[in-house]
């Protein structure tokens, strides 16, 4: 097409420009990833120039803004782990039960109604959940257990659990619905009940999808900020006891950001080191999830 019409050539050039533009937009997502890694690493390196990595990983106190500064990230990790475990203890059984019920038992009409409502649960702003944990759930728990402090990880974790139920249930349900009907029919033909089919045929076949749901839920819980910041108090506390108040990695970042931060202060650098730790933890979850998906993938 060497001697093509000038209009055709003009059109081809336009097409190429558009394609390059679209490619640039697609690459922007990769650029965001690199920017995140670059910014976190750069500020964290400044941090670790002042605080030895060994102290960061082994110190048992976290008092970065005090005169006697300690930087033991374990203190914050313990808060993150505790709230996440409480949340998962609520969300996994609830989410999986709901997913099995919707996918294997509920009538199509009920499913059409329930799914959007569950979606709404996932759409409520997290700060509203925080208010709910502090004003409603904590006083309720205090009736059962009077010694419970006004800020505690239990109520934050419970509310976080309810919050991530929709994530776990919708991803699990998609995975279970993707299991071919023949497998179920095979089980029914052998005389299995719907429950038995769900437990022994559908769940094993959908396991890689369920693993994905679990990792998604966990990384949501690990990164969740506002519920914890509002309801769990913000004092760093090295404990795995959910009845106590504690700060998590993310709520610490919020707490520091609420004050005025000079660019070169240690507090400024500290939140980036904390953020890097948080990113690494969610990365570990994602890698485990990826590995589980690969290991248990079933092809039909």
């Amino acid at each position: 097409m060497k001697n093509s019409h000038p209009r055709a050539r003009k059109r081809r050039i336009k097409e190429q420009f558009i394609e390059i533009g679209l490619l640039t937009a697609a690459c922007s997502s990769v650029a965001i990833t690199f920017a995140i890694i670059f910014v976190l690493l750069k500020e964290s390196l400044n941090f670790f120039a002042e605080v030895p990595l060994f102290d960061f990983l082994t110190d048992t106190q976290w008092t970065p803004l005090f005169d006697d500064a300690h930087f033991g990230i374990l203190t914050l990790i313990s808060g993150t782990v505790t709230t996440t475990l409480v949340a998962l203890a609520v969300a996994v059984p609830l989410g999986l039960t709901i997913a099995i019920y919707i996918s294997e038992f509920a009538s199509p009409r009920l499913r059409e109604i329930i799914k959007p409502i569950l979606e709404l649960l996932g759409a409520v702003p997290t700060v509203v959940f925080g208010y709910f944990a502090l004003i409603v759930v904590t006083p309720l728990l205090q009736k059962i257990y009077p010694d419970l402090p006004g800020f505690n990880m239990l109520s934050a974790g419970l509310v976080m659990g309810i919050m991530i139920v929709p994530y776990i249930s919708s991803v699990s349900e998609d995975a279970m619905r993707a299991v071919p009907m023949q497998l179920r029919e095979g089980a029914y033909a052998m005389g299995a009940t719907r429950l038995r089919t769900a437990l022994t045929v559908v769940i094993p076949a959908a396991f890689s999808g369920l693993a994905a749901a679990l990792t998604l839920g966990s990384s949501r819980a690990v990164g969740e900020t506002m519920v914890v910041a509002v309801a769990a108090g913000m004092q760093p506390n090295l404990t795995l006891n959910p009845l106590q108040p504690a700060a998590t990695i993310s709520s610490f970042i919020v707490q520091v950001s609420l004050g005025d931060l000079p660019h070169d202060s240690i507090g400024y650098k500290t939140i980036f080191a904390a953020g890097l730790t948080l990113l690494l933890i969610t990365l570990v979850f994602n890698v485990i999830g990826y590995w589980l998906r690969q290991k248990f993938r079933e092809e039909y």
């Binding site: 059109r11 336009k14 558009i18 394609e19 679209l22 490619l23 937009a25 697609a26 690459c27 997502s29 990769v30 965001i32 990833t33 920017a35 910014v39 750069k42 500020e43 609830l94 039960t97 709901i98 099995i100 019920y101 038992f105 509920a106 959007p116 569950l118 979606e119 709404l120 759409a123 409520v124 702003p125 997290t126 700060v127 509203v128 925080g130 709910f132 502090l134 004003i135 409603v136 309810i162 929709p166 009940t193 038995r196 998604l216 990384s219 900020t225 506002m226 910041a229 509002v230 993310s250 970042i253 919020v254 950001s257 609420l258 005025d260 939140i271 980036f272 953020g275 948080l278 994602n286």
Partner: protein
């Protein structure tokens, strides 16, 4: 195995099944009742404060005089910046990945990357924005920084929903257009985009409703919690009538205002927090409701 034995087994299995159905309903009820309890409590606490003055007053030291004027204006302007940045970028990226991208390793990397971005905690985006927009680019603690931060946060949602909407269009439509000599972009702009607009719009609304409730990343970039003035007006009396000075103004948004009131010890402020929560919740639920309705209509009306 005798007959009565079999019957017992069957009866027992049936019972298990009934019990599980009960369990499933209980699990659903727990989730739904929590949602209901949240709505009612918020409404009971917040309703007395929800008068017109609440919407037209600035925050104040006195709980009874405080309002959400600067917060809702801030939320609105931040959402505007977010939409302007995220929609073109996300839709373009979605079009490229679905319609243009060759099936090779680079495309696979971009796809995995988009999925991973969706899994990054929102507060990490806040740190990115603090390091990049606020410090490096010098946008300061402004509406522009906040809007761009939230745009990055919802970019994966828009990319994924654009791709899904495009994937739902049968290949025959593309082939028919190509057969008539249309170029790739003509196919996309004249056929695929109009047919997928409903799906894309659903994704955009869901993304924006997520952005409007986000608190943590905006706190991280250093949004002020006490703002008793409005940003510069975007409209001017003389030419060119529209000004963009407001993008660099300090601001506050609804969720931050609510967080601020929630963390006050005085009880009177809790009622303000609840009232702000009602407004915030109404905004997000309205947006989600529209998205769900839109999706429902698309599913009903389009039969390829």
């Amino acid at each position: 195995m005798n007959r009565s034995n079999t019957k017992t087994i069957i009866r027992r299995q049936r019972l298990y099944e009934q019990l599980f159905i009960l369990l499933g309903l209980v699990a659903l009820l727990v989730a739904l009742m929590t949602l209901l309890a949240l709505f009612t409590r918020l409404a009971i606490d917040g309703m007395p404060r929800l008068n017109p003055d609440f919407f037209t007053s600035f925050p104040s030291r006195f709980a009874e005089k405080a309002g959400i004027l600067s917060a809702w204006v801030g939320s609105f302007l931040v959402m505007f910046v977010t939409a302007c940045a995220a929609i073109p970028l996300g839709v373009s990226a979605g079009i490229y990945l679905e319609e243009y991208a060759p099936k090779n390793r680079w495309t696979a990397i971009i796809e995995i990357n988009v999925m991973n971005l969706a899994g990054i905690p929102s507060i990490v985006y806040g740190l990115l924005a603090l390091g990049l927009f606020v410090q490096t680019f010098g946008f300061g603690q402004s509406i522009l920084s906040a809007g761009l931060t939230l745009a990055l946060l919802i970019l994966p949602i828009i990319i994924v929903s654009t791709r899904e909407a495009l994937r739902g269009i049968p290949g025959g439509i593309r082939e028919a257009a190509y057969a008539l000599g249309a170029t790739r972009w003509q196919v996309v702009a004249d056929h695929l985009l109009p047919y997928s607009s409903g799906g894309v719009l659903t994704g955009v609304i869901i993304g924006l409703s997520r952005a409007i409730g986000e608190t943590a990343p905006i706190i991280t970039i250093g949004a002020l919690t006490f703002i008793a003035f409005l940003p510069t007006s975007p409209f001017m009396a003389e030419f060119p009538f529209i000004s963009f000075k407001w993008v660099l103004d300090p601001f506050t948004v609804m969720p931050i205002q609510m967080f601020n009131w929630t963390s006050r010890p005085e009880e009177a402020f809790q009622f303000n927090a609840a009232a702000a929560g009602v407004v915030l919740l109404a905004m997000t639920l309205l947006m989600n409701g529209v998205a769900i309705w839109l999706r429902y209509r698309i599913r009903k009306s389009i039969k390829w």
